[in-house]
Each structure stands twice: as C-alpha cells, then as structure tokens.
C-alpha cells in the first residue's frame, strides 16, 4: 500500500498541507500540487502558538506543526470551527508560509450555501495557481477524482490512513520515504519518536503502539443507502473477540492512537471510527455520470455533504451516526473531544440522550498529560460494563 502512495507522489512538485476534511485533496492534485493531510503529532519544542487558556489543543498543534515544517509550500485552513479560523490570524502574522482560509459554510440546506462553497473552491484554485500550480482542466480534475491512491479519496479508508501516516510520520522516520520525496524537517529538539516512546513506556510492555488507523486495517468500505462512505468490519473481524465499540468525535492527533491501543488491550474492538480523522471525515462516492458532466460541481457537492457537529443544523451527523452505528453493531460509544472544543463538547450530552447506547466521554488536553492510567481504567470499566 505504501508503494501506491509513493507512486502517486513520485513526481512531487509543491506540497500543500491541510487538515480539515472539507478541503478536497483532488482539487489540489488537479493543480499539479501534492496534497498532504497533516494530522498533528503534535511536535514538541517548536512553538508558533504557546499554550493558552481556552485554546483548542488540536488547532494549536496543527499550526505549530505546519510552522515547523520545511518544504511545505502552502497551507489551507478552513472556517469549520472558530478556533481554526482564529489560529489562521496568528499563522499569517507569525509564519511566512502562504496560507489560505477556506470559507466552509455552517449551513448546508440552501443553494446559496452550496454555491458559496463552490465559489470558495474556485477562489482556492486562484491561490493554488499563484503558488505555482497549473489551472486545472476538467479532465485533470476528473482523473484526480478517480485516482484511488489519492489521500482523501474515499475508496479505501486504509489508503487514507496510509496517506495520513505517510504525511505525519515523515518527520518520525524520514528514512521510510524515498529520497526523491520532499521532506518535512525534524523540527523539535526532542524527536517525535521520543514522544511516542514515552507514551509506549507509559502504556507499559503489553501495549503495542501502532500506526494511527490500524484499528481499521481489516475494514471494508461500503456505500450506504445515502451514498456516504460506510465503515464495516469484515465478517471475521466483526465476529471476532472484543466488545464492539464506536469511537465518535472530532479530529484526533497522532498521539491519540494510544486510545485505540487501550481499547484493544481492554478487550474492545473498534467497529466504527466516527472521528473527523476516521470514516466520518470522508466524503461519499463520486457519481461518475455527474463527474463526467461537471467534475468540480460533483466534487463540491460530495465534499459538502460530509457530516460534522459544526454544521447548522447538524441533523445529518445524527442521520449518519444512526445508520453507521446500526450497521457496525457497536454496543457502546467512546466519545472523544479536546478541551475547549465547544462544538463537539456540546454534542456529548445530546448524543447520550439520543443514541440509546452506553456512551463514555473522554476529553483530552492534547498535551499528553492526560493520565493514561486513568484513561485505561475508564475504558476498561466501560468495556467490562458492556461485556
């Protein structure tokens, strides 16, 4: 799988990083640029934005990781949440990297909102051209949309995870990548490996720290009736050992992979990753006929349907969850959010009222200071309750 990712990136031009799922990788690729979805570690040491009371750890980590990168030619941030919208201000003041703020409407039910998103993609195109990208033609975009190896393409979740891994772990193990690839700099005085090693040590010898997304390794991707991507375990896995658990929430950082390990170690199996960095953050399949007619419109319409807590109203998120939770057979939900992430934090109580399954809320300060022992105890107790 790594080879296919490498193959796609064999002729790198310029690298554009982003983290929000509403940024279409295909659109960047159609400009002859290399899209990288950056999932923050976060790095230690490099600080564009220090810790601040009230600041979302993910937003902070993303900006610090971006600012610490070398060989990145541009960054795209979206207005999906207020904190990201505002870290953009600090990024443009404190870093020299060309940055673009993509307006993602919160409302989605009007034609005007959909058109605004489409217009924003066109504006993004002008930004990408200014960075040295080529103006895309329909065929090029269509090819990118059909490219199964493109990070962000929904055809294979594992591919996306591999893409994430190749992005995020470049700094961890640069030697894993061919020398022809652009490199991200090892920025922190303490290498990320150290952070991961520390986490491993804290977890103890029984815990295997695996690449982010490993819990999805055996997943199949299916299309739901609504045309959205669906995550379902294969028959063997779904009948395997462990309490079937869904993980729901906003984005996760790389270091949050410990959560997946802890779930497994405590006797759970993850049957649905409904986080922003999991299945929920992926767009549905492209309609090939509409793609042939007007690929940009199809791209915009498909991405715009990604469900999120921040949409207003966010009823589509619950429709998606209803379908996916039923399909996955999850018996309980681990709900993860970062402190100060208002949009996800506010959904916890609502989800509990609505879902009819056991829900355990897990908040994280994103700094690795959340007690792993406490986390393990909570997860274990939750899983024991469900056994």
């Amino acid at each position: 799988m790594l080879s296919s990712v490498v193959s796609y990136m064999a002729e790198p031009e310029k690298i554009i990083v982003y983290t929000c799922p509403y940024v279409p990788a295909e659109w960047i690729a159609a400009h002859g640029l290399t899209p990288r979805r950056l999932i923050p570690l976060p790095v230690a040491g490099a600080v564009t934005i220090p810790r601040m009371e009230g600041l979302c750890p993910y937003a902070r980590a993303f900006v610090n990781d971006v600012a610490a990168c070398e060989n990145v030619d541009g960054v795209i941030i979206t207005t999906l949440c207020d904190q990201m919208r505002r870290v953009f201000d600090l990024l443009v003041r404190r870093a020299r990297l060309p940055a673009f703020l993509l307006n993602v409407p919160s409302t989605w039910q009007t034609v005007a909102a959909q058109r605004l998103y489409l217009d924003e993609l066109k504006r993004l195109s002008r930004f990408l051209v200014r960075l040295g990208g080529r103006a895309p033609d329909r065929d090029e975009l269509a090819r990118a949309m059909l490219d199964p190896d493109l990070p962000g393409e929904s055809g294979s979740e594992f591919r996306l995870q591999a893409g994430v891994r190749s992005t995020a772990f470049t700094r961890v193990k640069p030697s894993d990548l061919p020398s022809s690839l652009p490199r991200l700099r090892n920025v922190e005085p303490a290498a990320p490996e150290d952070s991961l090693a520390r986490l491993k040590a804290e977890l103890g010898p029984q815990t295997r720290t695996k690449a982010f997304g490993d819990p999805l390794r055996t997943h199949e991707t299916n299309r739901t009736a609504t045309g959205r991507p669906s995550t379902r375990l294969g028959r063997t896995e779904s009948h395997g050992v462990g309490v079937p658990i869904a993980v729901v929430g906003g984005p996760l950082m790389q270091r949050d992979q410990v959560l997946f390990d802890i779930i497994r170690d405590c006797g759970g199996q993850i049957v649905l990753d409904a986080t922003e960095t999991g299945a929920r953050g992926r767009h549905g399949p492209f309609d090939r006929r509409r793609l042939a007619d007007d690929p940009l419109l199809e791209l915009a319409q498909t991405y715009f349907r990604i469900p999120d807590a921040g949409r207003r109203p966010n009823s589509e998120l619950y429709e998606w969850l209803q379908e996916e939770l039923h399909r996955s057979g999850a018996r309980g939900i681990l709900f993860h959010h970062y402190v100060w992430c208002d949009k996800w934090r506010a959904e916890l109580a609502r989800l509990k009222e609505w879902v009819g399954l056991a829900v355990l809320g897990l908040d994280s300060d994103g700094n690795g200071e959340m007690s792993l022992a406490r986390l393990r105890s909570r997860v274990r107790a939750f899983l024991e309750m469900l056994e």
Partner: protein
C-alpha cells in the same frame, strides 16, 4: 433636581426615589425604585454604584423591565422574534414591522451576574452538558428551559458561520431541545482579491461584493420569515424607515460616546455608558423608548459638560476597553482604581456605526452584518481598535476575556501585539467571570498596576 454628578448606592437611589415621588416628579410607566428589582432577585444591584441623574434611573429601569415589556407585547398581540448571535441586523428588520418585537436572548448572559448566580440557569445548562467550559451565555439555555426570564419567542433566528463556537454549539443544543431556529449564514469577512469588486463597509473594513450579495440573500430568507410571522409584507420603504430609526439610536450613542470619552471631567461613568451602548443591539424590546431614554441621557451629559461638572480627577488614566464584562461591577472597579473609559469595543462597534442610506435597504443591512468586527479577522478588529484608540486618545488598553468564549483564546494576543507595535501602549488582559467577588483583590491589584504604569509613563 439637577445635582452634582455622584455615584450612589441602590439604597441611596431608593431614598431619592421616595423624595421624587412625594414631590410628584413624573416617571415613565416602567419607572419605580430600583430596589424592587432586588426583590425580584437582582441582588447584584446592591453592590453597584450608579450615576445619580434621573436619566440614569430611567436607563436602569428600562433595562431591568424588559421581560415585562416582552410579556406585555405578546399580550397586546405582537409577535416576538428572538434574534440570537445577532448584534444589530435582524432587529432593525423586525422593528420595521409594527406588530413584531425583537429581543436578544443572548442577553441572558448577564443574568448570572445580576442575580449573583442564584437564578439556577447555569446549573440547568450544566445538566444539559453545557458546562463552565462555555461562555456565560450558556445561561440562555436555562432561561429557555425555565421560561422565567423571557417568553419563548415565536421565531428564533441565529447567525452562524463566522461566529463563536460556544454560542453556535449552545444554539444547536437549544435546537436539539425542540426550539426551531432559522439559521442564517454570515461568512468570514475577507479582503477583496485582485480583480474582485470591493465594497467599503461602514466602519472602514472592505469586503468583496460577492460576500455582500451572499449575505443579502441570507437576509432575504430572514425577511420572508419575518413577513410570514407578521402576516404582512416588509417592503424596502418600511425597511428604510426602520433603518432611519436605528440610525437615530446610533446618532445619539455616537454623541454620548464622544462626550463621555473626551470631555473633562467625565460626564457619565462607564457602567451607564455600557448599558446605553447595549441598547443599540436590539433596542431593549422598545425602539421608541430606547430613543427617548438615550435623548434624556444625552441631555444630562450635555448639561454636565456645559456646567463643567463630572467625575474623576483630571489625571484619571484614559483606558480603552475591549469586550463586554460578564460582571458589571468591574466597570465600577476600574474607576475606583483611577481609570476612566475613553473608548470601547464591546464586540458590536458596527451596531453603533450609521447605516448607509444611499443603497437599497437589504444591501445596506448586509454591509452592516459584514462590518461586524467578530466576523472578520482579529487583525481587522485590532486595526479598528487602534484607530479608535488614536481617536479618543487612550493611554492603555484592557482586553477583558469572557470565560470560555472561543474568540477570547487568541484574539487578545493579536490585539495586544498590534496595539503595542503600533501605539506603544500598555495592554492588560484580564478574565472577568459573572461574579468577580472572590478575585476582586487580585483584579484590583492588576488594574491599579496598569494605572500606575500609565502615570509613570506620563512623568517620563
């Protein structure tokens, strides 16, 4: 009745009111002793000090009787519109229809302060999963549940998009509790790009024409909803008349601000000025009375300026204040520490700017909505703050953080950076929760240190 300006306690006010009543001094229908609001639970009033003018009494009584006014409006057959996360746009539209009354449910954010956290609203919000990690505006959720602080509106609108996450999340929670909401999108205001048609907005920002058109289409949706609710059409002529009335409010406030921020001695204290500014957002549920209240306040201020009377020593430190305070008492505290307000940015400066009347009404309202300092970048906001600092000659800036508000995490950093770079002024960032009593000594120390710093700079 004209006396030297002096800040007095609630008890003094009530004694004074008795004398006025005995003397047959006329009062508005909502008038009365301020002490009666304490009986209703507004115990914070006992710890505030108020301006001693009849105009100030009228202002306070007007503010504290809004709930009665809303219930009376409904009883009189008017329909109520709750305009959430809307600092001065939809209310202008709603008041253009004479059978609608708009109010600002977000105003419930002051209830925990005014009732000294005895209202139970925050506990209700807690029980709904909206805990103290959110802005105190979460009290609004409790107010909807108890229905004890305002009637449930017939129509709820809420702007979303480039708004605070905490409010957006709270509004979504409210929606999930069964309150239908008309969401309208306000996009992040961006600078026009090369080749794009640009529009200069009131207040000095600019935006692409395409964004104006988009917001206009969103406001058109709101207009349809208001028409449905009112059962009559809302044409451009009616909107233009509504805009003219809103401009009268803004004109009065601009004069008040100019005198309060520049005259020596200061003719009106910070607390009354804060309340007066807040009236611009939604007219405290009665636009005509808002104008009357502000006129009387302006007359009082003019009288004081002409007489050379006012507050504070001549060397009071001139402070520019950013963000409204969750605890009203802090405005008293600043003045106790030797400061006076000379410029404010309470999140809604755009609601104080005159609304242009040379473009079609809906378009001009779209411009106003996009001129909101909160929908653009913090850099834009800081730029406007700097312009106001220069205009009013402030000597220091206080950025007052609102606990849990998503915009407060970072904007203070940018505002402080830019103010220091461009004005060379000291900046103090403080956090003001709904009740500051427990932290008052620490807060006082910080404010005094800022005042002392400025005085020291003067002497160099």
């Amino acid at each position: 009745m004209s006396e030297a300006p002096r800040q007095i306690t609630l008890r003094e006010w009530d004694r004074r009111y008795e004398r006025w009543q005995a003397a047959g001094v006329p009062q508005p229908a909502y008038g009365g002793p301020l002490g009666r609001h304490v009986a209703d639970g507004d115990t914070r009033l006992l710890k505030l000090r108020f301006d001693n003018s009849p105009a100030a009494l009228r202002l306070w009584n007007f503010l504290l009787t809004e709930e009665d006014r809303l219930r009376a409006a409904r009883a009189g057959g008017k329909r109520l519109v709750g305009t959430m996360k809307d600092l001065g746009t939809v209310p202008v539209m709603a008041y253009s229809l004479d059978n609608l009354v708009a109010f600002y449910p977000d105003g419930a954010w002051w209830i925990p302060c005014v009732m000294e956290v005895n209202s139970g609203l925050l506990q209700i919000a807690d029980s709904l999963g909206i805990d103290e990690s959110f802005c105190p505006v979460r009290a609004m959720l409790g107010a909807f549940v108890t229905e004890a602080h305002f009637p449930i509106p017939d129509l709820l609108t809420c702007s979303v998009g480039a708004t605070c996450d905490d409010f957006s999340a709270i509004a979504q929670r409210l929606n999930g509790l069964g309150h239908p909401i008309l969401w309208w999108e306000i996009p992040h205001r961006r600078a026009p790009e090369e080749g794009e048609e640009a529009v200069l907005l009131p207040g000095g920002f600019s935006a692409p024409k395409s964004q104006i058109e988009f917001v206009k289409s969103e406001l058109q949706r709101v207009r349809f909803a208001l028409e449905d609710l009112a059962g009559r059409s809302l044409d451009d002529e009616m909107l233009a008349r509504g805009i003219a009335q809103a401009n009268e409010v803004r004109r009065l406030l601009a004069q008040l601000q100019h005198l309060a921020f520049t005259a020596a001695p200061c003719p009106m204290p910070a607390l009354e000025m804060l309340i007066a500014e807040m009236l611009a957002i939604h007219f405290c549920s009665d636009r005509a009375e808002t104008i009357a209240v502000l006129r009387e306040l302006l007359e009082e201020v003019n009288r004081r300026v002409a007489a050379g009377t006012g507050y504070f020593p001549a060397d009071a430190v001139r402070i520019f204040w950013v963000n409204p305070v969750a605890d009203l008492r802090v405005m008293n505290l600043l003045e106790d520490c030797g400061g006076r307000i000379c410029g404010t940015e309470y999140l809604f400066t755009h609601a104080l700017d005159p609304i242009p009347v040379d473009v079609p009404p809906l378009e001009t309202l779209a411009q106003m909505a996009l001129a909101d300092p909160m929908v653009g970048s913090a850099i834009d906001r800081a730029t406007r703050i700097i312009a106001e600092i220069c205009r009013f000659g402030a000597e220091a800036v206080i950025v007052s953080r609102i606990p849990g508000a998503s915009h407060c995490a970072l904007e203070g950093e940018i505002i402080a950076e830019m103010v220091r770079e461009e004005c060379g002024l000291p900046v103090l960032e403080i956090e003001v929760p709904p009740l500051t009593d427990a932290m008052a000594p620490a807060l006082r120390t910080r404010l005094e240190a800022l005042v002392e710093t400025v005085r020291d700079r003067r002497s160099r």
